[in-house]
Symmetry: C2
Subunit: 352 residues, 2 copies
């Protein structure tokens, strides 16, 4: 599949630039103090641990699809999205009290482990991770402001970057609150998915690439009409895979979403349609860290029986169709159209 | 004193703009969700609680001193510095686990108190405060990017803004580490004061104003030669007032620095010159939350006897002289020179 090749090619280019940029920042920081050098080194290591770089690739492909030619410059914009992603992950990991990320310790754990002889190493690690996230947000702004685009475009890109930070922050707040509230509605979840997935992962990157290519407001509007439903479908598919997908292909346990107590449309719809006994079973399974394989099979059964699985599947397909229609009716050139349509199909068909 | 009038005049203008800007952000946020509106309202309340607005005034005065005429535009840049200040305070308050700020609860306490029926309200409050700080950093970038300056200036201002965020972050790291280490050197403390006070409070704002006025690199260099020693002197004076100043005029208890265990040049120099008994006394007093009035008097006596008080006083005076010389030898116009010289005298003479 061509898309896989594109992903791999750009992943390498993005990671190379991420590395050279962060090496420059380490050189800068070591002139200031050992502790500045140290945090920049951890930031570099965290950024280079991997990830699919999907946001970056969307930025580059949107740029190229709309006629952009300056590959080095757009890679800097892609790197800003990776820095933003690490910034959010580091802060989210403090919030969620997570220990592992991208196959290594989270930023607050790195510091807590390194300085475990200090008084209150956990608190110390969290403090350093708050600052690490703040530094990454500043670095994201920095690389855009110094990229090889004209001043007008750079300002628009910076406005977009900070708007996405703001909206993703709002999404994170809804996420935190919905983890605490018992009466979460489908509307709450949809809003969160719109902010945290559709805007952050799909629309934001496509707009960044498009702005850099000099897209018109009309073209940005078409990309929104494509990106928002596609992002919502992406999330629905993610939730389905999280419960029905292959552990091996996903690279994470098939029960991790359930153990985390993730409130998804899939779960919410099942509760809505369930009888009393089924409902009680779902509620007790959600967030149960000791759920058995047998209970998981029963949960999947209920989600099918209540019509919740087909509901999410149909909704995702409808949304992808809506996304594709927006592109088909656009005046984008054929090369660009093909790419966006392929991405849309990938969202539905992927099994990882 | 003219400076007091200037401070008061601009404080009102800055706060007015801060209010209108954050009201716009509340309107934007309420279209997204109740929780977004809520956090923006808390952010507004926190920003309008007060503060001396010293960074803002330095921005505006540097701009005017260098011939800037667009008052509305420069006020937007001043507001960005206030947003940055709130961003740092909110994150620092989590790090220091402080309850009070600007006469009200810290951001994490606001949320912890409002949602005290939730599981783990302290953790919840800290999570929301991390996001509130992140939002404020994005808002600071936003208001600069939309201000009424030309694109080249706005980009330079954004680069400066994010550079200051980065350097202040490095200063904060040294601050955290020096609170944990026992072997803190005068060099560590000086480095921290350079980053957290001289650059953040003095040089950064002066450069922002100067960049907006179209200052040359040579002029920025002169401002650095003025700002860095002045900022160091400002900090030394702060530390002296923190131990020898009037409780009433400072608006904070005269023992608060000692109770906090703040490591200052004043304390370090006294330890360096103290005999064994004096040294033990200083070390035991530092961070002692139950220090008595009598012990405080003895501590002050030791700081005088060891020559540490005159050391800091002389150093501050030398630094202020150095700052003033940089301005005197500059080609700034008389109006500007007078302002910078007056500010420098104020730093030494102030008793609050």
């Amino acid at each position: 599949m061509a898309l896989d090749k594109i992903l791999k090619l750009y992943k390498e280019k993005i990671e190379f630039r991420l590395k050279t940029f962060l090496d420059e920042k380490i050189s800068e920081a070591e002139k200031i103090s050992d502790s500045s050098r140290e945090i920049m080194q951890y930031i570099k290591e965290f950024n280079l641990r991997g990830g699919k770089r999907i946001r970056s690739v969307l930025i580059i492909m949107a740029y190229k699809s709309l006629g952009g030619k300056n590959e080095n410059a757009i890679i800097d914009i892609a790197v800003s999205a990776e820095l933003m992603q690490s910034f959010f992950l580091i802060h989210d990991d403090i919030i969620d009290d997570d220990d592992l990320r991208r196959g290594g310790p989270t930023m607050h754990r790195i510091y807590a482990e390194k300085y475990n002889s200090y008084d209150k190493p956990k608190k110390f690690g969290e403090s350093m991770a708050i600052i690490a996230g703040d530094l990454l947000a500043a670095l994201g702004n920095e690389i855009i402001s110094k990229s090889d685009f004209d001043e007008e475009k750079k300002l628009k890109l910076l406005q977009k970057f900070n708007k996405v930070v703001k909206l993703t922050g709002y999404g994170e707040i809804i996420d935190i609150l919905s983890g605490l509230k018992t009466n979460v509605t489908e509307q709450d979840i949809s809003k969160m998915h719109k902010l945290k997935t559709a805007i952050y992962t799909i629309e934001g990157p496509l707009h960044m690439g498009a702005i850099a290519a000099g897209a018109s407001d009309e073209q940005l509007k078409i990309l929104s009409e494509y990106a928002i439903p596609l992002g919502m479908a992406f999330q629905l598919k993610d939730d389905i895979l999280g419960l029905f997908g292959s552990e091996e292909k996903l690279g994470k346990p098939a029960d991790s979403d359930i153990k985390e107590g993730k409130k998804t449309i899939l779960i919410l719809k099942a509760i809505e349609n369930a009888d009393k006994e089924q409902k009680e079973f779902i509620v007790s399974a959600l967030g149960n860290k000791n759920i058995t394989e047998k209970e998981l099979i029963k949960l999947r059964q209920i989600i099918k029986e209540t019509g919740s699985l087909p509901y999410s599947e149909n909704l995702a397909e409808k949304l992808v169709k809506k996304a594709k229609d927006a592109i088909k009716n656009s005046d984008f050139e054929k090369h660009g159209k093909d790419f966006f349509l392929e991405i849309a199909d990938y969202v539905i068909k992927r099994d990882y």
